[in-house]
């Protein structure tokens, strides 16, 4: 081994060892755990552990709350991803305009929700969304809308949480889009303008292809992010009302750390993993077709 090689291992081994211990090993073990009936009894005594094969997975399919959690998560993702990305793109386009002044100032202000913690901001939003004293319902009342029971009505609980999540995360993609928009070739924009292309055509045929790869990356990360919602429903609704905000991770957390069915919870974790992997794969396929990759 050369001196350089020895140093390289000296530099990398500690962190690789940590990664192996807290990430690689547990991920492999999760697969093992998901085919056992590891529960509170096994937690007390290993000899109670039994191999159940795909039993956990077939059990899940027969659990209504699991399907509910899958469905809720799907709704969160299907509405939330376009909502979050749309808001980010809209503000990025707004900020990108040459006539807008004090850009760094706006950028910092709009990014502020992203750096703050979920728990504290969820507490604030729960208060803003309060049916009787909440600021949002008061503002809606000013324009004649009857009070909405945001967090108490199963029809409104997901939109309410999405409002909060969008507020919280849009700043991140906004920054990323700002960078991509700055790289849109100015000559191309000018040429399109001279050809008489309107704002929408210019956006569709000049801006969009140029920011395509960034948009794709944002979509992949957002889908993964929305599939991993947990803290928001945990702090704001405890999964309610009538289980309308139980997400996959919320279900996993309850199954694992409330009821101590760690085998079953591991199976849920794997379903989540497979979902994220396959959606990422599909998105990269679509991206390839449009030559964004």
């Amino acid at each position: 081994m050369t001196r350089q090689e020895r140093s390289a291992w000296l530099f990398t081994t500690p962190v690789l060892a940590v990664i192996a211990l807290v990430f690689v090993l547990p991920t492999v073990l999760a697969l093992g755990l998901s085919v056992t009936d590891y529960s509170i009894y096994a937690l007390a005594d290993w000899s109670n552990l039994r191999f159940v094969g795909i039993g956990n997975f077939t059990d899940l399919l027969a659990t209504p709350l699991f399907w509910r959690a899958l469905g809720n998560t799907a709704i969160f993702a299907v509405i939330g991803v376009p909502m979050a990305i749309g808001t980010s793109l809209f503000t990025a386009l707004l900020l990108n305009d040459a006539t807008v002044r004090w850009k760094p100032l706006w950028r910092v202000a709009l990014f502020a929700p992203y750096v703050t913690g979920i728990v504290a901001t969820a507490v604030v939003w729960r208060f803003l969304l309060n049916t009787r004293f909440g600021l949002l319902n008061w503002l809606l009342g000013q324009v004649g809308v009857a009070p909405v029971d945001w967090l108490g009505d199963p029809r409104w609980s997901i939109p309410a949480i999405l409002l909060f999540v969008t507020w919280k995360v849009f700043g991140y993609n906004m920054i990323v889009f700002t960078a991509a928009l700055a790289a849109v070739p100015e000559e191309l924009m000018e040429a399109a303008r001279l050809d008489g292309a309107g704002p929408w055509t210019r956006f569709r045929h000049v801006t969009l292809p140029a920011i395509g790869p960034t948009l794709l990356l944002a979509a992949v990360l957002s889908v993964a992010g929305f599939l991993q919602l947990f803290a928001e429903p945990y702090v704001m609704t405890l999964g309610g009302p009538s289980q309308s905000t139980v997400t996959i991770l919320y279900f996993m957390f309850d199954e694992g750390f409330k009821w101590w069915n760690l085998g079953q919870a591991s199976a849920v974790a794997f379903v989540l993993l497979i979902l994220i992997l396959s959606l990422t794969l599909i998105q990269t396929r679509i991206g390839r077709r449009y030559e964004w990759l």
Partner: protein, 285 residues
Amino acid sequence: MALNPRRLRAIVLNAAVACVTLVTLLPFVWMVIVSFMPRYESSRYPPPLWPSRWTLGNYYELLVRRQYDGAWFDYRILPAMGNSLLVAAISTLLGLLLTVPAGYAFAKLHFRGRERLLKMLIASLVIPGQVAMLPLFLIFRELGLVDSYAGVILPSLAGIFAILFVRQATLGIPDEMIDAARLDGAGETRIFVSIVLPLLMPITVTLALFLFLGSWNDFLWPLIVLSDQHHYTLPVAVAAISREHAADGELMMAAAVVTTLPVLALFLALQRYYIGGLLGGSIKG
């Protein structure tokens, strides 16, 4: 002053940006205003937009230890803040110590298996960390790390993203510089410490900020691994009291202020590094 189309456009767009920003910041402004209201004032309709009188009562109630009927009582927010600070500081320091040299090695040092390891690291980014959490809990239980600060900190040190982040920044350092030092007989550690590290300083500050805020805001894992409320970090403590005091708007807003204020202050002070880090140095301003 003529109102030509360009000027009109500028006014409309600047106003639109200002409106969006105002709406975005409104929850923070409201949080601060309500936290200074006398108890129960916010639970009225229409909501008062300004405190009838400004009071520090909510902060006093939240932060100061008091004696009731001979027993001490407090919401344990200050101790939780201390815990969060300790955990975040150690996570950040150890995280930098582990990942910065590794990121440099992956960029500039040649060793067998480097490319394969790198590919594995990149691939593992798509695996959600929650998959590892259940077995990790069992492993930590065997190791006696449950309900300890080490149990909170250790998983945060597996900085795959951090390694790749440092590597990306290091690729920009010219090889000639490092080779020249090698010819002069400098050892690899010496080269890293006295040549590479100073050049990586801005990126290290950025990474430190990412690590610190990530640890300060982390919720799910501390919630799982900590059971004794004396060990709670700030988000876990706030979530716990918000369950019992959901109706106490003013108290909860004070708790939210105390939790978000340090983060916002740190972000404002170092926002150049933070936003610059997100953009990978592609934009200035």
